[in-house]
Amino acid sequence: MSIVEVEEVSKIYHQGKMTFKALDDVSLAVDKGEFIALAGPSGSGKTTLLNLVGGLDLPDSGKVVLDGNDYSKMGDGQRADLRLERLGFVFQSYNLIPVLTAAENVEYILRLQNVEKAERIERVQSILDEVGLQEKHNSRPDELSGGQQQRVAVARAIVSNPAVVLADEPTANLDSKTGEKLLEMMRVMNEKRQVTFIFATHDKMVMDFARRIVSLHDGKVAGDQKKDE
């Protein structure tokens, strides 16, 4: 059964008098536990697709269903609740709240979920250790390197046990070695916890790690390639 279903989705942006078709009749199904990259040059519609999957935006036509929930039938608040419970996000940059420490950033989402304090602390501790930040629990974002910041972002995305983690160019601001380590870590999470990862990227390395690559071009699916290990 698919965890994400995208059916005949189109999305048009208006900029002044210009209209721009970001997605044109795109369909896609993602199964639970996949590690999938949406690839394509900038402007190909991959970030738009990721946003629609995340329920941050709604399509102009077609429908997006996450774990059986059809976004078009939900209000803003319900979609926010669904994101909170079932999704994790990692962005290219500015992922973290600058005034909160690494641990507090991760803990924040558990607070939103009204998790008990003792449990929160325990889960935050263990996930930060898991992403290799044993020493950095109480550091503020500006005291962390770019790679460490992205690890905190991954920890935050994972800590709430989501069904799907959406990652938009998570490695774009990192050097290749740091990026590779981050991706390895995400792969481990993917395998160990059976969390689905969907990337939007034009980074070759991410595509190397992905087990399925969906290529987008001018808002259309140009290719869908599964790799066999």
Partner: protein, 406 residues
């Protein structure tokens, strides 16, 4: 607690900006605490001086005496009322006064004057006049045929301590009343009108000169606190002995005093509200800035499932925390400055002469009260809350995708 922590840390993300914002609030609230204490102090002084000098907090009179004081409008049995009123809760002191207009004549000059018959021993307790004797002495119990007179009146009549003064008037029954009194003391209250037109003589003399036959014009009551005036008035009105008489509170006897206080207070409040609005616009930019520079952050928070309402709450917490810090600091500073001035007083300089005409002393002492501490900060918190709400509500319309783009 998480949201509170977040809000608090965000304030100190840009300390310079926050400190300036807080200082604006400190300034406004401190100033308002001081100014209101100052005004309230002046009002209380004015009321107190008027009450002490002339009206008392309450008076019992015959009907119609207040508007047209005529000799025959008397309280027939003042003594029975006196005893009952004195026993009431909240009553500090009670006395009897009667008044008559008379022609006063010195050696050569003569002029009309208000002669007031008083009980010297009680007046010493409730009136400020005995303390304002500039020359000679105040009346004493047992004095016969002596008087105290205002300085300006004495000047006009060209009489001094020990001089004799002839009084000619009309008694309660319409008969001619005449006597000669010796001036024992000259008082100066600073209120020209009062100092020019007033003379006091012992009540016993007054009663016999003006044939009062036991009647009196005013029963003057002072209460322990200003706020006791209405309860005591209500209690007096319930008494059977008071039927056919009227009970007046100080503000009914001197409506100008109450109205000018109201006028001054309204004027003051208008000025303060304008000031607070100016402060509000001064800090509105800070609140807007705090939101716009964090648009991406809000985008991330919304993406991970934070609802906009919660972000509004965080922003409001942030603004309110700044306001509270400002208000508290302002209240403490304002209180400290007020206490300092309420100890040393504030000289009125050249205005004191004008102020004296209204019974205001030449040094004013601000009076701190819960009300004077609360009103200003209350106005400020309402206005700043609205100020904070305007930008914070912008978050409600923020879309996560647009916010993430910054």
């Amino acid at each position: 607690m998480g949201d509170y922590l977040l809000a608090w840390r965000n304030i100190w993300r840009n300390p310079r900006r926050s400190v300036l914002t807080i200082l604006a609030i400190v300034f406004a609230s401190g100033l308002l605490v001081f100014m209101l204490s100052f005004q309230f102090g002046a009002y209380e002084d004015m009321i107190d001086s008027s009450v002490r000098l002339s009206t008392g907090h309450l008076q019992i009179q015959a009907k119609g005496y207040q508007n047209r004081p005529e000799m025959h409008k008397v309280i027939k049995n003042p003594d029975r009322l006196l005893g009952k009123v004195a026993a009431l809760d909240g009553v500090d002191a009670v006395t009897v006064r009667s008044e008559a207009f008379a022609l006063a004549a010195g050696a050569r000059r003569s002029r009309g004057i208000m002669v007031s018959g008083v009980r010297p021993d009680v007046e010493r307790r409730i009136s400020s006049l005995p303390g304002q004797i500039r020359k000679g002495r105040y009346l004493r119990d047992g004095d016969v045929n002596v008087a105290v007179i205002g300085a300006l009146g004495a000047e006009r009549l060209q009489i001094d301590i020990g001089d004799e003064c002839t009084l000619i008037g009309q008694g309660r029954d319409g008969s001619v009343a005449a006597t000669v009194v010796r001036i024992a003391g000259i008082f100066k209250t600073g209120i020209d009108e009062f100092d020019r037109t007033t003379m006091q003589i012992p009540l016993s003399d007054f009663n016999s000169i003006f044939s009062m036959e036991g009647g009196a014009h005013r029963i003057v009551i002072t209460t322990k606190a200003l706020a006791d005036d209405r309860p005591v008035a209500a209690a007096v009105r319930m008494m059977g002995e008071a039927s056919g008489l009227t009970v007046l509170t100080w503000d009914e006897m001197t409506p100008g005093l109450r109205q000018s206080i109201e006028l001054d207070l309204i004027g003051g409040i208008i000025m303060y509200v304008i000031l607070v609005i100016v402060v509000a616009f001064s800090i509105l930019n800070t609140f807007f800035m705090a939101i716009f520079e964090r648009t991406r952050e809000f985008g991330v928070l919304m993406a991970i499932g934070t609802k906009p309402f919660r972000l509004v709450k965080i922003m409001l917490l942030e603004s309110l925390a700044m306001t509270c810090v400002g208000l508290l600091t302002g209240m403490i500073l304002g209180t400290a400055v007020t206490l300092l001035f309420s100890y040393y007083g504030i000289g009125m300089g050249e205005s004191s002469e004008l102020m004296a005409q209204y019974g205001i002393a030449d040094r004013l002492y601000p009076r701190l009260s819960p009300l004077s501490i609360i009103i200003g900060p209350a106005i400020i918190s309402v206005v700043t809350f609205i100020t904070a709400l305007i930008p914070a509500l912008k978050i409600v319309h923020m879309r996560p995708v647009a916010a993430l783009r910054g």
